[in-house]
């Protein structure tokens, strides 16, 4: 049996609507909170990526410099060996003909 002070069907419908509005409001706030956190996570992730990029770039520069130095060392040592290989037979000829090696 209904009572004058209790909800009537019309007010029950509006109460249902009110409860639904609360639910949607809560979902909106929750979604906004999760989005904000996702943005923070993304910003942090991009910052990590940027740091790694800088590290890689530094590593590339260092590696390139080391490679260049290695190449230069190799070239010098190669010319030295070639020089010695060329001069060794000449020395041998000089010794046979003059008894003296090249200075």
């Amino acid at each position: 049996m209904s009572h004058p002070q209790d909800g009537n069907p019309a007010s029950t419908t509006s109460e249902d609507l009110g409860v639904e509005i609360l639910r949607l409001t809560d979902e909106l706030i929750g979604a906004a909170a999760e989005t904000a956190r996702a943005r923070e996570d993304a910003t942090h992730a991009w910052s990590v990526v940027a740091d790694r990029d800088r590290e890689l770039a530094d590593t590339r520069v260092t590696a390139a410099a080391e490679l260049a130095a290695l190449r230069a060392d190799y070239e010098r040592s190669r010319r030295f060996r070639i020089g010695k290989a060329v001069l060794a037979p000449v020395d041998a000829v000089k010794r046979r003909t003059t008894g003296r090696t090249m200075p």
């Binding site: 209790d6 909800g7 109460e15 949607l24 409001t25 809560d26 909106l28 706030i29």
Partner: protein, 510 residues
């Protein structure tokens, strides 16, 4: 001081009266060790009977141009001496340093960085600890972030206090009438007008604990307690609150006794799913009606119950004055609360679990703080039948949420007397609270995603996101006959973190 030298950022003011020379030297040396030079130290001798004190002060100034000494011609007390120092100050900010205390070596550097990050900060305070006579540190006080309600009840910001000189002067400086609680009086006036208050979560100040010092026991200076009460009363009147300040249960604490006569509110009593004790419900209804009459409140009483016809008919017979709000018997407690929020017709709503028993002062003490501008929710101090605390505010802490005071004695004052005063918290229990109806609606009430304590915590976070605060009342007591079931599965906590992120340290209950 040369008029050509630029003014320092910090003016450290120290009133002196018959200080132990050893402690005096330690204090000055702690300033001289500061990692930044951007300070001046103004030592104000308030006519110390021991002439060696003034001589000692002058010896500091003789070798360090950053140190200045003022010798008052008459003894005026701590406020007068402090004001003498402030009158001589040239810095942007005044740092209050007591005569026998010490600053951490990088305190001014840390404070400077905090002020750089918050250019509109007018007041800053830090954490502190105590220094024994044998120079050992103990008693660290990790303070809450800015908590205006708590400041009313307790001078919790204490040391170190840093005030923008312009504002300090504008509010009239220290007042001698409040000596003993002159700092509390000053900081109440400052924070009423401060644009922003900053809390540095580091121990920057070491408070020397000697006999006769309030560092040991505020009761050692009982006149200070009364001076503080008068200062709080002044603040209440300046703010236009209908209330009176009285001493709290512990020396150095205060309570505001609110006058809410004539207020209109809705009181919602919720019988949760599975709660079928009609006597408990009737008891709560009777208690609410008595409390409302005693406090001259006009209430709209709403009872939310499952749609069992026998229960509803019985309620209509026993409580004809109440609006009965029947809900589906399988609806959750949070769904019932939301339906009540929708049905509320007043600006203020009180939510009570069935079985809650009020005292005469519960309703006014719950309602009063809601009149303060940014307070959305006030939670009661809930005591169980065993005489122990059931709830006194949540702590939203890393890897856990806590009801940190559960099972303590009903009159436990808590660490640093936190339970003796009204204080800001992360969330309150919905078993007994008062709220602004508009704010509950603005945040969507209780989330359908959560139940139990997780739902309470989620509500607190939503209100915080709105820029609103939740307050745990020390004096609005509710006795709960039946303890509400606590729903704390791990997955619920993970869902909460999924929404709000992992918790760090709780800003109000560190």
């Amino acid at each position: 001081m040369s008029t050509n030298a630029p003014a320092p950022r910090f003016s450290i003011i120290t009133p002196i009266y018959n200080t132990e020379l050893e402690f005096l030297r330690s204090m000055v040396e702690s300033v001289q060790r500061q990692a930044t030079d951007d300070w001046e130290l103004i030592l104000v001798d308030d006519c110390s009977p021991n002439t060696a004190v003034l001589a000692e002060l002058q010896s500091f100034a003789a070798v360090d141009r950053r140190v200045r000494v003022m010798a008052r011609e008459t003894n005026g007390g701590i406020s007068a001496a402090s004001n003498s120092g402030v009158d001589e100050a040239t810095g942007d900010f005044v740092v209050l340093l007591d005569h026998d205390d010490e600053l951490r070596d990088d305190a001014l550097l840390v404070i400077g960085a905090a002020l750089d990050a918050a250019p509109d900060a007018d007041y800053l305070y830090s954490d502190e600890d105590k220094l024994s006579e044998s120079h050992e540190r103990y008693g660290t006080f990790r303070k809450p972030d800015w908590s205006p309600q708590r400041l009313i009840g307790q001078m919790y910001t204490s040391h170190v206090s840093v005030v923008r000189r312009e504002l300090l002067t504008a509010v009239g400086g220290f007042r001698s009438t409040y000596d003993g609680s002159q700092d509390h009086d000053l900081i109440l006036r400052v924070t009423e007008r401060a644009r922003r208050v900053v809390h540095v979560r580091e121990v920057l100040y070491h408070w020397r604990a000697v006999a006769g010092s309030t560092a040991i026991d505020v009761g050692e200076k009982s006149y200070a307690w009364e001076a503080g009460r008068v200062a709080v009363q002044d603040s209440v009147e300046r703010r236009g609150w209908r209330a009176e300040a009285e001493r709290g249960p512990v020396p150095g604490t205060y309570r505001v006794r609110w006058d809410t006569r004539g207020s209109e509110l809705t009181v919602v009593i919720t019988a949760g799913p599975g709660a079928s004790d009609p006597d408990a419900l009737s008891g709560t209804v009777d208690g609410v009606l008595r409390a409302a009459e005693a406090s001259a409140l006009t209430i709209d009483l709403v009872v939310v119950v499952g749609d069992d016809p026998a229960t509803i008919d019985r309620l209509r017979t026993t409580t004809p004055i109440a609006r009965i709000l029947p809900v589906a018997s399988d609806s959750t407690r949070e769904e019932r609360l939301n339906r009540a929020i929708v049905a509320t017709r007043t600006d203020t709503v009180v939510l009570l679990d069935s079985g809650a028993m009020l005292t005469e002062s519960t309703l006014p003490q719950l309602l009063g703080p809601l009149g303060v501008s940014d307070v959305s929710v006030v939670g009661a101090r809930i005591i169980g039948d065993d005489g122990r605390i059931v709830h006194a505010g949540y702590r939203y802490a890393a890897a856990d949420y806590r009801n940190p005071y559960r099972a303590r004695e009903a009159d436990d004052a808590g660490e640093a007397n936190a339970l003796a005063v009204d204080r800001e918290v992360s969330a309150v229990s919905s078993a007994a609270l008062a709220a602004r109806t508009e704010d509950l609606r603005a945040v969507g009430g209780f989330s359908a995603r959560f139940t139990g304590e997780i739902a309470d915590l989620d509500l607190g976070r939503k209100l915080c996101g709105l820029g609103r605060s939740s307050v745990a009342s020390a004096s609005a007591v509710v006795r709960l006959r039946a303890e509400r079931r606590h729903d704390t599965p791990e997955e619920s906590w993970q869902q909460l973190i999924g929404r709000w992120g992992a918790a760090g340290d709780d800003p109000f209950t560190p």
